[in-house]
């Protein structure tokens, strides 16, 4: 796509998200969609993180661990330390990023299915940890977490307290999609900068990359910590919406879904996980009509999609778009 075309696409997307969706919801009165779409936005942020680990050639089935971790960090800071939600949000992300550096240093040495297996276990480890610790209140979880308060700068209220909104979920919708746009903008810039090309170099051949002087272990950990930061942010906002968190708030099934969102949208495209999350979330709900066959149809369709469109939904594009597209196709190592 050319630059004007890209800007036009961006403008249409922002208009749709910030103007059209609230307008349609206001018209139809289906305010429950604010909650649904907030969830999609937050899951998309976490999936965007998983996508970045795919981008360096690692299959990450452990994002649920960081979503859960971020959620608990935010909840503990707000409930036990009396922090404002707005301060707990970046701290939750930073905590997850720091934890992922410690976890990532040893496990990122593994490749392929071995790395995937360890990350799969990670979600379960964090869940059991949340059950066992006293600060997380064990299996009873943490409930009645206060809503985000106001943001004031120099005595001027920029964002009012979420309790003052008539429709609480509408406020959360704007929060979620704003953070989602920021996260994906950051991700887009990353992938299109030289840093992104270094990540592709890792994905394609780590030995060759280190032979040219790239600090492969450090770059791998950098990508993984950004990924986990996204997971923590997504989890923290989720907890603020639900006003509660339990060890089962994010499970292995969620971790698997984050990965599937990336596959479905397309591993070669930054915005793949966003589309993948949207389609998968609503696809699953629509299949509810099918009753007992829901899971059967769902998994059948997923398998078929992976066979027919191995590069994801975004690989179906007009030819004129594809010419300038990245030549990159994710390669199994």
């Amino acid at each position: 796509m050319t630059r004007p075309a890209r800007l036009a696409t961006l403008a249409i997307f922002l208009l749709a998200v910030f103007v059209a969706v609230p307008f349609v919801i206001g018209l139809t009165g289906r305010t429950d969609f604010y909650y649904t779409l907030s969830s999609v936005a937050l899951l998309a942020i976490a999936s965007g993180g998983v996508w970045l680990t795919f981008y360096i050639g690692r299959i990450n089935i452990g994002q649920g661990a960081y979503a859960l971790m971020g959620g608990y960090v935010s909840a503990i800071l707000v409930v036990r330390c009396g922090f404002s939600f707005w301060i707990s949000l970046p701290l939750a992300g930073a905590f997850c990023a720091a934890a992922s550096v410690l976890i990532g240093l040893p496990i990122l040495r593994l490749r392929g299915v071995y790395f995937a297996m360890v990350t799969l276990v990670l979600t379960e480890v964090v869940r059991l940890l949340a059950m066992a610790l006293s600060i997380t209140n064990g299996a009873k979880g943490m409930v009645s977490i206060p809503s985000p308060g106001p943001i004031s700068l120099f005595g001027l209220t920029i964002v009012p307290s979420f309790d003052r909104f008539a429709e609480r979920n509408e406020a959360f919708y704007y929060l979620s999609v704003t953070i989602m746009c920021l996260c994906f903008a950051a991700l887009y810039r990353l992938v299109n900068s030289r840093v992104g090309r270094l990540f592709v170099a890792l994905q394609q051949n780590e030995e060759l990359a280190s032979s040219m002087g790239l600090n492969v272990p450090a770059l791998r950990v950098l990508a993984y910590s950004i990924s986990s930061f996204f997971g923590g942010i997504g989890g923290a906002i989720f907890v603020a919406i639900a006003q509660s968190i339990y060890p089962s708030s994010f499970t292995v099934a969620d971790s698997v879904n984050f990965m599937l969102n990336c596959f479905l949208g397309g591993l070669g495209y930054v915005f793949g996980p966003m589309l993948g999350t949207l389609v998968l979330y609503f696809g699953w709900d629509l299949l509810f009509q099918a009753g007992q066959y829901q899971l059967l149809i769902y998994s059948g369709v997923m398998i078929a999609l992976m066979l027919i469109l191995p590069n994801g939904l975004l690989s179906i594009r007009p030819m004129s778009w594809r010419k300038r597209g990245r030549p990159l196709v994710w390669r199994r190592s």
């Binding site: 990353l190 030289r194 270094l198 051949n205 060759l208 280190s210 002087g213 600090n215």
Partner: protein, 259 residues
């Protein structure tokens, strides 16, 4: 003059198997030195030991007096000891030009954050890398292949691409892994010319090679190893006359065919 690379008593054991046994030799600045030996002699292991892709059991490699064995491969590359790979090890999904540009990373003045934000220093780096990549590709006769995806390139171009990637990292000494393997006469002749041209740019070359004819033509000095140990060292003329070398290459075969 002090040697640019000093390998002393280097040994690598895999369990009970001694792959490289107490090998010592020096590489002088500006020369082309080849390590040869029959199949399974330990050439590849020795190559990985020098590039620090494998840690030695005993012994060490010194680059300009500084110990480099045991350091991470990327640290060794930063110091100026850069290895190339055989043609199967490339960035398959990238164009030749992009691969060479990436390989310039060592020379960047801007940090990762600078590249992310697109600072002036980062943009200058990008421009410099682009020009330098074009120059290297031209130098190695790859200009026509610059915008091809690497996996679509023929074998000969892939070898050259490997050397281009190595050169981009600005090496003082470049280690070439079997640069003439699987080439016909004509391709070998061109590769030999290319190797000489690289040396004339001021890069010291250490080759690990199988092709005797090419090695004799190109090398200033040759080190021969067999069963992991060094059996001879000298000029091509000396090596050709060396009894042990003749035995190593021909002796066993004589027995098997009953001559």
């Amino acid at each position: 003059m002090a040697p640019i690379l000093a390998i002393s008593g280097i040994t690598k054991q895999y369990g009970g198997l001694v792959a490289v046994n107490d090998v010592s030799f020096d590489v002088e600045e500006g020369e082309i030195l080849s390590v040869i030996g029959p199949n399974g002699a330990g050439k590849s292991t020795l190559f990985k030991l020098i590039a620090s892709f494998v840690k030695p059991t005993r012994g060490e490699v010194r680059f300009r007096g500084e110990r480099i064995s045991g350091l991470a491969p990327h640290t060794v590359a930063r110091k100026g000891v850069v290895r190339t790979f055989q043609e199967t090890t490339i960035f398959k999904g990238m164009t030749a030009r992009d691969s060479v540009i990436i390989a310039h990373h060592l020379r960047s003045k801007a940090g990762l954050a600078g590249f992310y934000l697109g600072t002036a220093a980062a943009r200058r780096d990008e421009a410099t890398f682009g020009r330098s990549a074009d120059e290297i590709l031209e130098f190695l006769g790859l200009r026509a292949a610059a915008n091809e995806i690497a996996s679509n390139l023929p074998q000969g171009s892939l070898r050259a691409l490997g050397v281009a990637i190595g050169l981009a990292a600005n090496p003082k000494i470049l280690l070439l892994d079997e640069p003439f393997a699987g080439m016909n006469h004509d391709e070998t002749r061109r590769a030999v010319e290319m190797t000489r041209a690289v040396r004339d740019r001021g890069v010291t070359l250490l080759l690990v090679e199988h092709d005797m004819a090419a090695v004799m033509k190109i090398s200033d000095r040759i080190v021969v190893i067999n069963f992991g140990a060094k059996i001879a060292e000298g000029t091509p003329a000396e090596i050709q006359k060396n009894e042990k070398v003749i035995e190593a290459y021909l002796g066993v075969e004589d027995e098997t065919i009953g001559v």
